[in-house]
């Protein structure tokens, strides 16, 4: 369990939030032209990184807004939080 600093509401307990998985997976621009392999890649395949991961979260029991997070999945330490549409921080 950890504390998340919601960019809209401030610090709240993680149990108020819903994890939305890997961030920055772009929706296909031309869905009709995708092969089965490309669909599988988009729908199912995940980096599932042990270490620094970029991911989406939703403050589902709060403002219900989505935002992005950079988190170390090996120890749950949050490195950065930024809003949807913002460029991910480069380190």
């Amino acid at each position: 369990m950890f504390i998340i600093n919601c960019p809209f509401c401030g610090e709240r307990e993680q149990s108020e939030f819903k994890a939305g998985g890997e961030a920055h997976i772009e929706r296909p621009r031309q869905p009709t032209e995708l092969s089965d392999d490309e669909w599988a890649e988009y729908l199912f395949m995940r980096k599932n990184i042990k270490g620094i991961q970029f991911e989406r979260w939703n403050h589902i029991h709060g403002c219900r807004k989505w935002f992005n997070m950079v988190r170390d999945t090996s120890n749950d330490e949050i490195k950065a939080i930024y809003k949807m549409g913002e460029k991910p921080p480069v380190k």
Binding site: Q14, A19, D36, F44, M45, Q53, T73, S74, D76
Partner: protein
């Protein structure tokens, strides 16, 4: 040939104060080259090595384990064994495992304490009732023993359950698989390790894989903390860390790794002689031979490799336990822990070849891999030895995520697997 365990060996060793027992497995340094290397020394990995040596005559093989054998999810699960899955493919897979469980202690000459005490799954709403009845019928069509129980029958089978209609999620019925039960999870790893070691398999502990060496589209060997090991067949059985190994080979898997928590209470006298699972309120409980209540909680919804998990998950589970079993209200919990489980989008495992020649994956068991240990090892060994899946694991290939032919077991297992 190892000395067999028996009442006579027990008596004989008692005279030397049990200080001269033969080591159950050696501690070898890795050879330069093997015919196959299994990555991951948990139950599934050791079983794979055991069946490769026993049924496919591959003796020049090794199991590499980054920690100690059975120290990962094998020693962290809640030891439940059952095979009452909904779909035909899953029923075939898990029932294959259950049949091996029934003779495993004799086969391994190692008491895995398999106890067919029955597993009961509870229904708490009308949809649960419909789903569980459907699953009971599906199980029977697949030759799996299954019974549907009404509320009175549930109470009769496990009298400490609160079946009052006044609780928040009243018990409306349940299913019972009498052949299901539990086993001693550590013994499974130790028994398979001893059996594999006896046939010449090298079990190498404290040996972490750092890189997979490829030559074009095939594998050449493994870079490990104990040096380079040459091999052209690698079977990865790394549970929560499967994606980490896959990344080394440049592969992506449809997996997410999450903490799954469990806890045990202080030991008490026998009070519950079966396993009771409830998907709707997400709590399951059994009692170990030591007397501890073994309680399974749920997964966190975020990806993590931290083996911790959140407190609110445990709290939710204990709320449900207390409502279903008011008798436990003053029990104290001794230990809580988390294991990292690799979850597939369809809640079914992957036992498959990959696009890289000589690289095989056995992963995605999610929250319910322990019950499949013997079957998983047997079928994965078949897949590695023949470079082709067995008919029982053909449906669990990695290409199902491209073809769309998924084995959606969320409905059968809900969250508690």
């Amino acid at each position: 040939m190892k000395n067999r365990y028996s009442i006579f060996s027990l008596i004989k060793n008692a005279f030397s104060y049990h200080e001269n027992w033969e080591k159950a497995w050696k501690d070898p340094t890795p050879k330069k080259e093997y015919d196959a290397v299994i990555v991951g020394g948990g139950g599934h990995g050791l079983a794979t090595a055991y069946y490769l040596a026993k049924k496919h005559n591959m003796k020049n093989i090794a199991v590499v384990e980054k920690g100690w054998i059975g120290g990962g999810n094998t020693g962290r699960n809640t030891t439940i064994i059952r095979s009452n899955y909904l779909w035909d493919a899953s029923a075939g897979l898990y029932n294959h495992a259950l049949k091996i469980w029934e003779g495993l202690s004799q086969e391994l000459n190692y008491n895995v304490m398999f106890s067919q005490r029955g597993v009961m799954n509870l229904a708490h709403n009308l949809q649960d009732v419909r789903d569980l009845k459907r699953r009971t019928h599906a199980n029977r069509l697949n030759g799996i023993d299954a019974e549907y129980l009404n509320t009175e029958e549930v109470k009769k089978f496990c009298p400490i359950i609160n079946t009052s209609p006044d609780i928040r999620y009243p018990v409306l019925g349940g299913t019972l698989q009498r052949r299901a039960g539990t086993a001693r999870h550590d013994a499974v790893a130790w028994g398979y390790a001893r059996g594999a070691d006896e046939m010449g398999v090298d079990i190498i502990q404290n040996c972490e894989v750092k890189a997979i060496k490829r030559n074009g589209d095939s594998v050449e060997g493994l870079e490990t903390t104990k040096g380079f090991i040459k091999t052209n067949k690698i079977g990865v059985v790394a549970a929560g860390h499967s994606s980490v190994i896959a990344n080394m080979a440049g592969l992506k898997l449809p997996l997410e790794s999450k903490p799954l928590q469990a806890l045990v209470s202080e030991p008490v006298k026998p009070i519950i002689d079966t396993v009771v699972m409830s998907n709707a309120v997400h709590a399951y409980v059994s009692q170990s031979d030591k007397g501890e209540l073994v309680i399974g909680a749920g997964t966190d919804d975020y990806i993590s490799y931290s083996q911790k998990g959140s407190h609110d998950i445990v709290e939710g589970t204990l709320n449900a336990i207390l409502e279903l079993y008011p008798i436990f209200s003053r029990m104290r919990m001794l230990r809580q822990w988390g294991g990292i489980v690799d979850i597939c989008p369809d809640a079914s495992p992957i036992i498959s070849k990959t696009s890289i020649k000589g690289l095989y994956f056995n992963c995605g068991w999610g929250t319910g891999g322990f019950k499949a240990t013997p079957g998983s090892g047997d079928l994965f060994a078949h897949t590695i030895a023949n470079d082709e899946p067995h008919e029982l694991n053909a449906a669990f290939n990695i290409n199902r995520f491209v073809s769309g032919d998924l084995v959606d077991e969320h409905g059968a297992a809900a969250v508690a697997h």
